[in-house]
Symmetry: C2
Subunit: 380 residues, 2 copies
DNA sequence: TTGTAGGCGTTATCAA
DNA sequence: TTGATAACGCCTACAA
């Protein structure tokens, strides 16, 4: 007995012909269109005709204008006309063509959340799930559709910028910026309303919303320093992200304020594996370490794993502090002391900020920093 | 010392006025003009007019047609004209308006991956990260842009269907269908090329790609039955998803084939918490159980947690088998025996299938089922 | 309350 | 090789 009967096996290895990824040489910004035209050539698909507003109007015996008014729920329409149009709409199964509407209104009623990072990595970090929750909360009741965009492999990073600047969305939320990403500049010069989630590294004149990473790290340093630990190290984030830089700066500042020095610094990439590798390096260089601050919970988890592998216990031998207060922190064994970051609020705030930008109703604060706080648990 | 100097605090609680969801208000030209004046006054967003093809053509001293040809890299253009247009394009910073282009060509060069489930939950499951990886791999070199869509709270489920049927994308990949979701039907009747990831529950005439959940579960049943375990139970997936149904059916069939009966069944929602709760219920009903098959790794992890909390050891007291072979399975303690599912290949295959649909080049197999296999580890 | 006509920015079809 | 001209589907002053 099989669960399903109409399946076919074995054909899934067949690969449709790949279009060449290169277009006409030249380098002008419009040359990319050549590549895209290529795509159009590769299929004469028999698309069924979709009913248009014109046909609805004709069937209802009114003009396009009246039909349009009915469909957009405007007033100044007789009950008779409204009924006729409604009837025609359902009879024809009419659906307004958003492209045409957007072309005319210059509004798409959709926003983009673009993660300036490779997609597959993104979803591994619980940060994004929480951020998304916040964004959705901020969007509730607006009728705006959110689309998620990420770096695709085999596609230049600029493709994202082109998509966003080509009128597909009314505004953009950009998160997880690395180094000197040109995307914010592109968006700004294209006039696409944009709010950054996370302080940008380069000075670009766009508003951003961020957590107070600096003071969160200060708190972590204070906590470990006050815990009577002797040799303290830190697993910092990437050097090319503001979040990594700010947390490291805060840590250093907090340590200095406590009259302590940092025994060692290793950089990770915010992943469990990166944290474990960094911890291993630190253990090799500083066998006597007894306290570590990791710039993310994921890295802290990796650090705990590496410590365990090295025969150290947490928190008896080594105290561990993370950053994020993700779900994993509370359920870790032992539960992870961490710096709470209001991620949902970050997403909500950024979204509201962007909505305000769209409405351009009045003066908005250039940028916002949300508070962070230390959450003490068993790990340190 | 602060990491940044131009931040503003405290204003993030303010919520901008919500725009009406229907396009009635805000559309009058007076309103728009006022908004633009306001924006200009602030100097924040100078709503610069975007250069059009017309202006490019004028500046280059050619017709729109010729300008269009140059920009699309077509032949039959004199070198002189080409140079002039290229020059004008760069001088003006021209970017083609994709909406207008799509309206004319009836192609958007973008696909949607729609997760018929609430967004925040989606990202918590490693399945989606892997699937996305596969989809991106399948898309590599095509120049197609992928957009991710999910259920938003405070928005009716139909909004997704409207977006997809309104011409925003050339094709759609639908994953994680529950019960009688109307989405596939909408897409089909709107003529949007669609491939489902995962067998649909309702009979809708759309191709799908799925893993062989049935036989994977058969293998799990065989494995546990052969391991000399006496009292076997299963944590099944949701009753309203084919993946849940198929794995349960496979389990039952495998058990029957081994001449065994299932002591108990509890349903979970594919989350760690759901798995833990189900395990707890099963333990209460069947204290003597010594083997459990969970229909997902996440639920298996939750089951292990619940078992540990109940004082049972894995695998000595109870053998645990999961489904997915996610990264978490291998790194769990103890490492989790599980059924390997080729998730990346699932994504890649579904994508290729969809690309084939777009090209409509020739007869394609209606649906595809990818093989699954058991991976034995320490947990059972 | 309704219809007419022009525009949104591109592409596609033909003559020239 | 080039350029009018007509789609593409919808919105919206403006006039009736």
């Amino acid at each position: 007995m099989r669960a399903s009967g109409r399946d076919t096996r074995g054909d899934h290895g067949a690969r449709p012909a790949v279009r060449p990824a290169t277009g006409v040489a030249g380098g002008s910004p419009a040359d990319t269109a050549a590549v895209e035209r290529e795509a159009t050539k590769r299929g004469a698909r028999t698309d069924r005709r979709v009913p248009t507003l014109d046909e609805v109007a004709r069937l209802a015996g009114v003009s396009r204008s009246t039909a349009s008014r009915v469909i957009n729920g405007q007033s100044y329409v007789s009950a008779r006309a409204r009924a006729a149009v409604t009837e025609a709409v359902t009879r024809l199964g009419y659906r307004p063509n958003m492209l045409a509407r957007s072309l005319a209104t210059r509004r798409t009623n959709s926003l983009a959340l673009v993660v300036s990072e490779h997609g597959s990595r993104v979803l591994d970090d619980p940060f994004f799930a929480r951020l998304l929750r916040g964004v959705y909360a901020g969007l509730a009741g607006t009728g705006l559709q959110l689309v998620l965009l990420m770096d695709q492999d085999g596609q230049d990073h600029a493709a994202l910028g082109r998509y966003l600047c080509a009128g597909h969305v009314d505004g953009t939320l950009v998160v997880s910026l690395h180094g000197e990403d040109p995307l914010p500049g592109q968006l700004r010069s294209a006039g696409v309303p944009t709010v950054l989630v996370g302080r940008p590294l380069s000075t670009v004149d766009l508003p951003y919303v961020d957590a107070d990473n600096f003071n969160g790290a200060v708190a972590a340093a204070r906590h470990l320093a006050a815990a009577g630990r002797g040799t303290l190290v830190t697993i910092a984030g990437p050097r090319d992200m503001a979040v990594g830089i700010d947390r490291l700066a805060g840590w250093r500042c907090g340590m200095a304020a406590a009259g302590r020095r940092t025994a060692g610094v290793a950089h990770g990439d915010f992943t469990v594996e990166g944290g474990a590798a960094a911890m291993t390096r630190l253990l090799a260089d500083h066998p006597d370490l007894d306290g570590v601050f990791a710039a993310s919970d994921l890295m802290a988890l990796g650090a705990m794993r590496a410590l365990r592998a090295a025969g150290r216990t947490v928190p008896d031998d080594v105290a561990v502090v993370g950053f994020d207060d993700s779900d994993l922190a509370a359920t870790a064994v032992p539960p992870l002391t961490t710096v709470r970051q209001p991620v949902e609020e970050l997403g909500r705030t950024a979204t509201w900020r962007l909505l305000g930008e769209l409405d351009a109703e009045d003066q908005l604060p250039p940028s916002v920093l949300l508070p962070t706080e230390l959450v003490a648990r068993a790990s340190g």
